[in-house]
């Protein structure tokens, strides 16, 4: 302990006041000389001679001082500091190299880190539930193999027949209106089986979860709230437990509060949960047989998911009379069992994986570029190192020097990279498609950052060490002369290969970006079937209790429309039960009297729009045949339907559908009279611009089986639609202050949002592709410059022998373009192979789209010519006299 302290203390004081340490040594040496002189004087020598002899014997003061100084540990620190100073000086002296290398590192590492940081928690980090790997979702499987939402009837059967699960729960989206407080609000909620929180493995932090009795139809109403909601609306007090709140006009008793930070992965914005209270063994036309539930189960401990899969497949294929199924939930195509994480990320997975691939490629390019830059630099410095070796520098010292330089570069680049990564993560979160899990957990990932930093640094160190290793004493002459004597040779091969790689990788990224951008373009060029300019939309909720009659509801919406129409700047307004491109999806099977043998649902489903009469005018949906809905379509009149063009063609081909009798959805069991098709209107994209299913029917809200408690108000304005929001909202509230208004958006915003995952991928690909293109250009410039510098003498001789400037320029360009061409060839092959990753993100364009490839090749070619142009000009400008004389 004491010796160690002494070591440190003496070392540190020598480090900080080297002069004092030296002075002590000097004193001691001088003391030596004096003592020896005196001794010699005593032996009879005169003072002068004695001093001279003593000085000779003791030796040089400086040498002794050096010796003493070099013996302490602080000397190592000193050397390191001087290495660092020297390295920084070298880097400063070559600012272009330093800047390009540091920026390359920053872009490569930063972008890769940002991407991995964002994707890791979303795709791979375990969900924040105990035993999350045992939680699976179960969906119906459509004929295409795609998942479809299951019915409650299916849940009932599976929950009773399956033995693979500890617990199984069904959930249904729920958007209750919270009233009775200062501002009415439409909440995001879920109705769930009593076992739901047990299935997730997380119980309320305060209060309790639901019990089975509360899940029975007609039981007392209870709710569990999120901590977020309690804080936002109820002052954050736990005393809310046991009190009553008003949802959809009914009192609900609050029985539990979830912990802060708890997220319901199945529906991340959920703030309130209530028991499902579904009807057991419901009739086929009941809500319980609709495809709008989700089933989530917790596997028995230690049970493999494949065992559960097989069991459910067996159940699906063997119906029993105890659980009669309906036609549209017959489970003929089996069930789809997926891990919860896989399920919730399924939509974003292709985009995220494509983006990860892009990041990996960019990191590769950065590595290649750093290698390239260092290689070129090391060639320029061969003379320096040969000289230093010749002057006696140990190889160890040279290696150490270069290591210091590489590490300094890595530190500078790494610091910049961290900034890039921070900004990148922020941008990614902002851009990410909605509904992803764990997005709020996205931070710069230390592991990913370290990984990128280490890879690039290792590459840098390996490549950077080459000049030191080759600067052995033996080839000092060659090394020093090499600079001027080199004529064209095979030296460029390694660097050439690197540039070829870069060009190939850049091409792959550019092709990906090109395909994505063009897909997005084409997608946004698709007509949604409605006019989107100057249309404001918002949901208006009328959910005031179960005693509210349809007529009261109709009256409210009617009055609201009148109030909105009176707002200055509003040209027209209407209500609809479902709004195109908003995420709504409400579809029903149908039967036409002309084809009685077809079962409802057999021809697929048609989307239902219960609308007020002016809807078509507000949205600009064209009438193709027959008439629109009007005042005559009252509740007591026989129902009239409009059908979409695609439903008309799909059912009647070219025949006239007007006057055909039809039943939709719950009416198709035959208990109600047939309705009549009175008109055909244009197709509208409901789910997204890319969706192909546009079969739809329209009915007057008064004539449908129920009046929807949630309707979307659509308003055509004379000026900017978004600016009218407050005036329209005030108008609705002037009728009834207690009606929540939600999801305010202009139609243009909704169209813009429908491309969000494609936009996410194409912004990232685009950014990466541009970065890759720049890096490749820098690499190409560096290599060709290097070659030109080495061949200065050759160019001198050639121009002395009569070569024109044009010939020399062409020669150098050809050299650079050869690399480019090989790179492009490899890149095209690579792009063909890898764009399959992007398939699901492409729209209206093939992964092998020739014009995209041609465009990218042309772009890359022009950039390559630009990058080679400056060095080529330099080669042509070589003055033969100067070159030859300098030999």
């Amino acid at each position: 302990m004491i010796p160690l302290l002494r070591q440190i203390q003496r070392g540190v004081s020598a480090l900080f006041s080297p002069a004092r340490a030296d002075a002590e040594t000097d004193l001691e040496v001088r003391h030596f000389v004096q003592s020896r002189t005196r001794e010699l004087e005593r032996q009879g020598l005169p003072y002068e001679d004695a001093l001279r002899q003593a000085t000779t014997e003791v030796g040089s003061l400086t040498a002794t001082r050096e010796e003493v100084r070099a013996s302490g540990w602080e000397h190592g620190v000193d050397t390191l500091l001087s290495d660092v100073r020297y390295a920084l000086r070298r880097l400063r002296r070559d600012p272009v190299f330093t800047m390009v290398a540091a920026l390359t590192l920053a872009v490569g590492i930063g972008a890769a880190t940002a991407i991995f940081s964002a994707v890791n928690p979303i795709l791979f980090r375990a969900l924040p539930y105990p035993g999350a790997e045992r939680i699976v979702t179960i969906s119906d499987r459509a004929q295409s193999g795609a998942p479809a939402e299951p019915t409650y009837g299916t849940y009932e059967e599976l929950a009773s027949r399956s033995r693979s699960f500890e617990t199984m729960s069904a959930t249904d989206l729920w958007r209750p209106s919270l009233t009775g407080t200062d501002e009415a609000e439409r909440l995001q909620g879920q109705r769930v089986s009593a076992s739901y929180f047990h299935t997730l493995g997380v119980l309320p932090a305060v209060g309790r979860s639901f019990d089975d009795a509360e899940d029975a139809p007609g039981a007392a109403r209870v709710a569990v709230l999120s901590d977020r909601l309690v804080k936002r609306r109820f002052g954050g007090a736990d005393s809310i437990i046991g009190t009553s709140i008003t949802l959809n006009g009914e009192p609900y008793t609050v029985i539990g509060i979830m912990a802060p930070g708890f997220t319901d992965i199945l529906s991340p914005s959920t703030d309130i949960w209530a028991p499902l209270q579904a009807q057991p063994r419901a009739a086929p036309n009941a809500r319980e047989w609709g495809h709008h539930y989700r089933i989530v189960g917790r596997l028995q401990r230690g049970l493999d998911v494949d065992v559960a899969r097989r069991e459910l497949a067996t159940i699906a294929s063997q119906p029993i009379s105890e659980y009669p199924r309906v036609l549209w939930a017959g489970l003929e195509n089996g069930l789809l069992v997926r891990g919860l994480q896989e399920d919730v990320t399924a939509g974003a997975r292709p985009a995220l994986i494509a983006v990860v691939a892009a990041a990996a490629m960019l990191l590769l390019i950065a590595c290649v570029n750093v290698a390239n830059l260092l290689l070129a630099r090391s060639r320029r410095r061969r003379a320096e190192f040969s000289l230093r070796a010749a002057l006696g520098a140990e190889r160890k010292r040279l290696v150490r020097q270069l290591l210091t330089e590489s590490v300094m570069l890595a530190i500078i680049g790494g610091a910049l990279a961290f900034v890039v990564a921070q900004m990148g993560v922020g941008a990614l979160v902002a851009l990410s498609p909605p509904g992803l899990p764990n997005v709020d957990l996205v931070r710069v990932d230390g592991t990913a950052f370290g990984f990128g930093l280490i890879i690039t640094t290792l590459v840098g160190i390996t490549v950077g060490l080459m000049p030191a290793l080759s600067a052995s004493r033996a080839d000092v002459r060659g090394g020093m002369q090499g600079v001027s004597r080199t004529v064209a040779g095979g030296r460029g091969a390694a660097r050439g290969a690197l540039v070829v790689c870069e060009v190939a990788l850049a091409l792959i990224l550019l092709v990906g970006a090109g395909l994505l951008v063009r897909s997005l373009d084409r997608l946004l060029a698709v007509s949604p079937g409605v006019q989107t300019e100057r249309v404001l939309t918002m949901q208006v909720v009328d959910a005031a209790g179960r005693n509210r009659t349809d007529q009261e509801r109709l009256n409210f919406y009617e009055q609201a429309l009148t109030a909105v129409r009176n707002v200055p700047g509003v040209m027209d307004a209407a209500f609809t039960s479902q709004l195109p491109l908003s995420g709504d999806l409400d579809a029903y099977g149908y039967t036409f009297a002309a084809f009685p043998e077809r079962q409802p649902g057999e021809d697929g489903a048609a989307m239902r729009y219960s609308v007020s009469g002016d809807y078509f005018r507000v949205m600009g949906i064209p009438l193709l045949r027959g008439r629109l809905l009007d005042e005559s379509d009252r509740a007591d009149a026989p129902p009239s339907f409009l059908i979409s063009e695609s439903l008309a063609i799909q059912t009647f081909a070219t025949a006239d559908p007007i006057g055909q009798r039809v039943r939709f959805g719950p009416d198709s069991d035959g208990s109600r009279p047939w309705g009549t098709v009175v008109g055909v209107v244009g197709d509208v994209k409901q789910q997204s611009l890319a969706s192909l299913n546009t079969a739809a029917f329209y009915v007057s809200s008064a004539q449908w089986r129920w009046v929807d408690p949630v309707q979307s108000l659509v308003v055509r304005t004379s000026g900017d639609a978004a600016a009218m929001t407050n005036a329209v909202r005030r108008a609705v509230w002037s009728v009834d202050r207690n009606k929540p208004i939600a999801r305010v958006a202009t139609m243009e915003q909704l169209v813009w949002r429908t491309g969000s995952d494609r936009r996410f991928a194409s912004v990232i690909y685009g950014t990466f592709a541009i970065a890759a293109l720049l890096l490749a250009a820098v690499g190409l410039y560096g290599v060709v410059s290097g070659l030109v510098a080495e061949r200065t003498r050759e160019f001198g001789i050639r121009s002395a022998l009569g070569a024109t400037r044009g010939e020399i320029v062409r020669g150098v360009l050809a050299n650079g373009l050869l690399f480019t061409t090989i790179g492009v060839a490899i890149g095209v092959a690579g792009a063909f192979a890898t764009t399959r990753l992007l398939d699901t993100l492409l729209y209206g364009i093939s992964g092998a789209d020739p014009s995209t490839y041609a465009g990218v090749i042309a772009l890359l070619g022009s950039v390559a010519v630009l990058a080679c142009w400056a060095p080529a000009r330099r080669a042509a400008a070589v003055d033969p006299v100067v070159t030859l004389r300098s030999e």
């Binding site: 004491i2 010796p3 002494r6 070591q7 003496r10 070392g11 002590e24 040594t25 004193l27 001691e28 040496v29 003391h31 030596f32 004096q34 003592s35 020896r36 005196r38 001794e39 003791v58 030796g59 040498a63 002794t64 010796e67 003493v68 013996s71 302490g72």
Partner: protein, 111 residues
Amino acid sequence: MDEQSTDVISGTLDMLILKTLSLAPMHGFGIARRVEQISRGVFKVNAGSLLVALQRLERAGLLDAEWRETENGRQGKFYSLTRAGRKQLAVETTEWDRKVGAINRLLRTES
């Protein structure tokens, strides 16, 4: 001096310093002089190596150092053995005896 003096056998300088100081505290020149005297001029101590060794031993806590006035009225750095130094000397002496014994046995073995 009849015979040529040589540098101290490598690795033994520390031990010689410790031994010398075990008799009395001394300054650098004194140590060098004493080693030469006792070895009857066989070993000669180079000032540089001595100072490096002294600095090392002092930092290792085997010696204490103190600036004091010398017999001729000048400032000199006096070194003295610490307790750890004394222990180290014993260890090194034993080790040295062992090695020398072994070497002697090897050299005297009749072939």
